[in-house]
Amino acid sequence: MLNEKPTTILIIEDDPSLRDSLRRTLRKRGYTILQAAEGGEGTMLLGTHAIDVVLIDIFMPGREGIETILQIRRSHPQVKIIAMSGGGERMHIDVLRVAKASGCHQTLDKPFSEEALINAIEAQLA
């Protein structure tokens, strides 16, 4: 990446395997990666680091992804948010649409390709 300042991406994901694989994929592309296992930890990191993009899973135990998205939108409106979901509905709610409505900038429907992920991030950085 030719940016003087490397892009910092925060991954908020409760599943460690997915979190690791995302970290590996993004690191390969030269992004600086921060990781959090749940929403509270993520918002804490937002307070201490300069983060450009948040990649967040909507379904997480404890504080729900949607709530975290809402909180980030309030506290760090400049941060771009990309929401991930297993797709479909849960309790009959189209969560990605809800996520979009609650202010996230882009959604990714799992399983997504590496290319789609990078495109999404780059689109937010442009």
């Binding site: 694989s21 379904f59 135990p61 404890g62 799992k110 399983p111 590496e114």
Partner: protein, 745 residues
């Protein structure tokens, strides 16, 4: 049809009958009246005739008297006998008081001899010389209104010329007139006497009047002495007077001369007689028309009174009867209508309901066979009715049917057959649900066989159950997709990472290969080693050494996760076909917990406490899985509602244990509980507390159907609001009676 329209003719009839009766009565009365008038008229005529005859007789007597006196007069000398004559006349008058005066008047009109001596020598007034009376009539009769000889009273004067031949001392014959006078009152007396007698004969006849008129119509005598001397009835236009004086007898209805009433007048002339002067008098006897009608009036009064007295109560009775009849008719009519309506309703009902009805007289002969029965059995009513039921060609199990009929006859109670298979030629088997009811009739015991083709219903029930299964599968699919997508995501990512890593490692290995080759050649090339080191740094070999095993391990784990969920899904959806078999419930529960993980994992911890020695039970596993899934999903939703917005999680506990010769599954949650008000309804089909579109309300209804109907088990719920809910399912190891399971096999 209303009450008022019916029997409207009755009052009309009554009015008509009354009118006819009245008409007949009036006709009768008028007939009677004319009869009465006729009779009375005739009576009056006879009375008049009688009176006329009496008067005539009286007058004829007087005529005889005259003759007698005439005979004795010449015997005495004129001079000497004048006194003697007078004495003689006086004697006659005393002997016959009818005579008012008897005398002898000379030609000059002077009284020569008189019964009243004072009158001798007086002028005889109106008596004038009548001259020699002709041979035919030797007597003249005239009325005198004011007879000076008789104190100015009205009299009737009989006059006859008398010639006394010359006697001693007198040479010329003496000519004079013998005069007798009787008072009208004497005639009056005759009339009244005869009338009095007549009245006795004719019953009392009030107000009878009479007149005696002369040939001019002048009233001579009358009952009330009111007419006055000048009254002339012919001039007054009284017909009866005209006719009587003209010599006719009869009766007539005419106007009274003075009173404004009609009178019935009987009239007769004084009869004529040879050598007696024609008087031309008429006798009129009258009664008021009203008096004639007196009896009729009283008759009318009596008839009216009694008519009223009889007719009015009769009318009232008739009206009352009619009222009652109407009311009764109305009731009957209403009852008839109601009954007709019932019959119609029954027909309509029988025609519209899906069910068929068959009635068996004396439990054997078909007496009712509805359209639906025709359709179901392909036997027309004509073919069926009147035939023995057992003789009809219906391809079902007749043993079962005969036994059921016998049972109804014996127990007199309703017998139900829930699933009778009907194997019609050329079509798929159909299922009937039959109810056999005893119907006591006058002649004996009928059986009403009501049945329904439940083939469609069973299919629908199956479809509904499938639909619910699909619904929950669809719901699960979303969760399962999520469960699968995450590992798919990172396994894919990892593979790409490993591919890149292998490329990087390959590059490092290439360097190392070069280094190794040159080392084998015995040369040491610092440059090659540095390149190797640079390449290892470039690819961050340390990082790869750390990450690659992790990526591989995580990929295995991911694939394992996918495998597990797919297997569970498969086991859940297709647990060994549709057939019932002895199944391991613990394993089934674990599978269901697995497939539903996504439903509960964010809101609840799952604890299972499954008895290891749980006996296998004979069941269809698919529906049982469905039941467990439905309850787990409900539990997750109940907990989700409670923990929403908090970081807390609830708990779902599933336990199994052996209870008697069956097993018990308890599924508890720590959700909000079920309010007591709706606890009764939760197993009802279509009952749901979820928002519209978020559930069909079939879950628990199907659970109940599966557990109770299909497997002969029980399903209960224990719940405390704000504490949680426990569903308890008890299943027998082998259902004692669950026909659907057997048939499904």
């Amino acid at each position: 049809m209303t009450k008022s329209v019916r029997y409207r003719w009755i009052p009309f009839n009554m009015v008509a009958v009354t009118a006819v009766a009245g008409g007949i009565l009036l006709f009768g009365i008028s007939k009677f009246e004319s009869y009465l008038v006729d009779r009375t008229g005739r009576e009056l005529q006879w009375a008049a005739i009688e009176i006329a005859e009496k008067i005539h007789l009286l007058l004829v007597e007087r005529y005889g008297d005259m003759k007698l006196i005439q005979g004795i007069l010449p015997e005495a000398g004129y001079e000497a006998r004048q006194r003697h004559w007078s004495q003689h006349f006086k004697n006659i008058q005393e002997a016959y008081p009818i005579y008012a005066w008897i005398g002898f008047v000379d030609k000059a009109g002077r009284v020569v001899a008189s019964s009243d001596p004072a009158a001798v020598g007086k002028e005889a007034g109106s008596v004038r010389w009548v001259g020699p009376v002709d041979g035919k009539r030797s007597i003249a009769i005239q009325e005198i209104q004011h007879d000076e000889l008789v104190e100015g009273q009205s009299t009737l004067s009989f006059e006859t010329p008398v010639t006394l031949h010359a006697w001693h001392g007198r040479s010329d014959p003496f000519e004079g007139t013998l005069v007798t006078r009787i008072r009208f009152s004497e005639l009056d007396e005759v009339v009244t006497r005869s009338l009095r007698e007549m009245k006795k004969k004719m019953e009392s006849r009030e107000g009878m009047e009479y007149q005696v008129v002369n040939n001019q119509g002048q009233v001579l005598i009358e009952s009330h002495h009111l007419l006055g001397e000048t009254a002339n009835l012919i001039k007054l236009g009284v017909k009866s007077a005209e006719r009587a004086t003209a010599g006719e007898a009869g009766f007539i209805l005419e106007q009274h001369t003075r009173r404004p009433v009609e009178v019935l007048t009987g009239y007769a002339p004084i009869p004529e007689q040879k050598d007696f002067p024609k008087l031309g008098w008429g006798i009129l006897v009258q009664v008021d028309h009203r008096a004639v009608l007196g009896p009729i009036r009283s008759l009318i009064q009596t008839v009216t009174f009694w008519g009223m007295a009889i007719f009015l109560p009769l009318w009232a009775l008739l009206l009352w009867t009619m009222h009652r009849l109407r009311a009764e008719w109305h009731q009957t009519d209403a009852a008839q209508q109601a009954s007709q309506e019932l019959v119609n309703q029954k027909r309509t009902l029988l025609a519209t309901v899906e069910a068929f009805f068959i009635q068996l007289n004396d439990a054997s002969v078909v007496s009712e066979w509805t359209n639906q029965a025709e359709r179901t059995f392909r036997i027309t009513a004509d073919e069926a009715i009147g035939k023995p039921f057992g003789g009809l060609s219906i391809s079902w199990d007749w043993h079962v049917m005969s036994a059921a009929i016998a049972q109804v006859v014996q127990s007199r109670a309703v017998v139900r057959l829930n699933k009778v298979v009907l194997n019609q030629e050329g079509e798929r088997p159909r299922y009937l649900k039959l109810t056999l009811s005893p119907l006591k009739t006058n002649s004996g015991l009928d059986i009403v066989l009501m049945g329904e083709d439940i083939t469609e219903y069973l299919a629908l029930e199956h479809d509904l159950s499938q639909a619910q299964k699909l619904e929950s599968l669809g719901q699960l699919a979303a969760g399962v997709a999520h469960e699968i997508n995450t590992p798919t995501q990172f396994v894919g990512d990892n593979l790409r990472f490993l591919k890149d890593a292998f490329t990087d490692i390959g590059a490092v290995l290439d360097c190392h290969h070069t280094a190794m080759t040159s080392a084998k050649a015995g040369s040491y090339q610092q440059e090659v080693i540095e390149r190797c080191e640079a390449e290892a740094r470039r690819v961050d070999l340390e990082y790869l050494r750390e990450e690659v095993p992790k990526a591989i391990a995580q990929s295995f784990e991911g694939v394992e996760r996918i495998t597990k969920i797919v297997r569970a899904m498969k086991e859940f959806a297709h647990p060994g076909g549709e057939e019932a078999a002895y199944e391991d419930l613990n394993k089934a529960i674990q599978t269901t917990v697995e497939v539903s993980r996504n439903e509960w994992k964010y809101v609840a911890e799952m604890t299972t406490d499954l008895a290891p020695d749980l006996p296998r039970i004979f069941c269809q596993l698919g529906p049982i899985n469905q039941v467990v899934l439905n309850i787990i999903v409900n539990a997750a939703h109940a907990i989700g509602d409670v923990v929403k917005g908090t970081k807390q999680k609830g708990r779902i506990t599933i336990s199994t244990r052996t209870v008697g010769d069956g097993v018990e599954i308890r599924i508890s949650d720590t959700g909000g509980g079920i309010p007591e008000t709706i606890r009764e309804k939760i197993f009802d089909p279509f009952f749901t507390t979820k928002p519209v579109g978020k559930g069909t309300g079939q879950g628990l209804a199907i659970a109940r159907s599966v557990v109770v109907d299909k497997h002969g088990g029980r399903i209960e719920v224990e719940s405390q609001v704000n504490q949680g809910t426990t569903f308890i399912i008890r299943l027998p190891v082998k259902p004692r009676e669950a026909p659907s399971l057997r048939e499904a096999a």
